[in-house]
Amino acid sequence: MTFRVRAGKKGIELRLHELEAAIMDVVWRKDLREFAVSEVLGVLEKQRDIAYTTVMTTLSRLHDKGVLTRVRDGKRYRYSSKLSREQFLEATARDVLDRAVGGRQALVMLAEKLSEASSSELDDLEALIRRRRRELGK
C-alpha cells in the first residue's frame, strides 16, 4: 500500500511504504491515541515476524515524515498520530482524483463499471472488507 501525503500548506510530500502503512493501520484500527513501540509490536507480532528494532526504526521514520508526533517518556518515546485515517485519506485523495478518468455522460451511477483487468483488484477489496467484517463481528 503506497500513499502520498501533502500535509499542510508547505506541501510536504510523503510516501508510506508497506510496513509504514501496516503500522499506521494498527494505530488507526486499534485507536491508539498515545503509544510506545512495544504496543504496536504486540499487535504486529500476531500478523508477521518482526523485530522490536524494525518497528522502532519505522516509527521514527513516520515521525520524521510528519505523520506521527512523539514525546520523550523516560528512556523511550511515546508516539501519537497527527491525523485520523479519514484525514490522511483526504490528504492523499488529490493524487487519486488527479488521475481519475471518467465517463463524459450526464449519468449518475453508484460506481463505474471497471474492466476485466481490474477483477482481481475488486477481489482483493472484497476480501479486505470481509476480513474487517469478521474482525468487527458483523
Binding site: 485515517r85 488529490r94 487519486v96 465517463g103 453508484l110 476485466e116 483488484e121 477489496l125 474487517r132
Partner: protein
Amino acid sequence: MSEIAFPFLGTAFVVLVVLPACALIAKALLWTLEHVETRGPLHGLRLRYLVLTGSSLLPLAWLLSAALHQAETGRSVVSCLFDHDTAALCFEPGLFTALLSALIVWSSVKELRHTRGARPSSSPNATALQQRMVRIVSTRWELQALAHSIYVTDELDYAIGVQGFLAPHVVVGLAYARGISDEELACALGHEAEHVRARDPLRYLVLSLALAVNPFGRQWLQPHATSWLAAREAHCDREAVIRGAGPLALAQALIRAARPGVCPAAALGARSASLLKLRVEMLMAFEERTPTRCCHREPSSILIVAALFIVAALLPHHAGTAALDALHFGTEHALHFFWR
C-alpha cells in the same frame, strides 16, 4: 458584405477567443482552488462547480442577451431576423444571436446523444424486486424520501444510479440487486438518496453542456470536472454514512456495482480501480470513526448557477452592451483592414 461580417466574425471570435479565454481563466482558478483547499480535494465542491459551469454559461448568457437587446425594435426577434431592410441595426445582432444559438444547440444535441438512461421494466421479476425495495425503504427513515421514486430495470449491465433531470429517481438493476443483501441495497439507496436530494442528474447535465459548448472545455476543464465528479461520489458516500448507512455494507455494494458486466466497460482498461479503492478505504475509516458533516447546508449549486445565469442575462439590459459594441466594431474594422 460588411452587414454580415459581424454575425459571422463575431461568432467566430466568441468561439475561438472569448470562450477559450474563459476556459483558461477557469482552469487557473480551479487549479488554485484545488491546491489552496487545506482540508483536501473533497471539500469546496460547490465553488468548483460554479467555476466549471459559469465559465462557459455566463459569458454566453451575457452575449446572447446583449445581442437580443440590441436587436430589439419593438417587434419580435424572429420577424426582425427576416426583415432587415427596415431594421438594418437589428439584423446584425439578430443574426449573431441566431448563429451563436445554433452553435450552442448543435453542441448540446451532440452531447445529449451520449446520454442514455436505463429503461424501467414491469416484468414479474422487476415487480418482485420493487416490492422488496418498498419493504426496505419503509423500514428506514433516511430512505423515506425515495418511497415513490425507485424503479427497476432488467438491463443486464445496469447496477444502480439516478436518472431524471427534473424529477430525479433511482433506477436499480435487477441482476445487481439479486447479488446483494437487503442491508447492502439499503446502503446503496442511501448513497443515491443524496444524489436525488441534490438533483445531481440536472447538475451533471448542466456541467456536461457547459463543457460541450466551449470548444476547449473538454480539453482544458474535463480533468477538473472528472475530479469534481469523483469527489462528489465520495461526498455522497459520507452523507449516506452520516444518515445511517453501514460503511462496510456500502463498500461491498460499491464493489458489486463496479464488477465488470456483460458488455465491456465503456473505456476498457482506461479506468483504474484507484478511485474505488480510495472510496472503500474512506468507508473503512468511517467504520472506525463516524464522519461528521463537512459543511453547512447551503443553497443548492444549481440554484446559484440559475441565479447567476439570470443576472448575466439581465445585465446588458441595465448596464449596457459596450463590450458587444466593441466586438461589433472590432470585427468590422478587422474586415476593412484585411479586405482593402
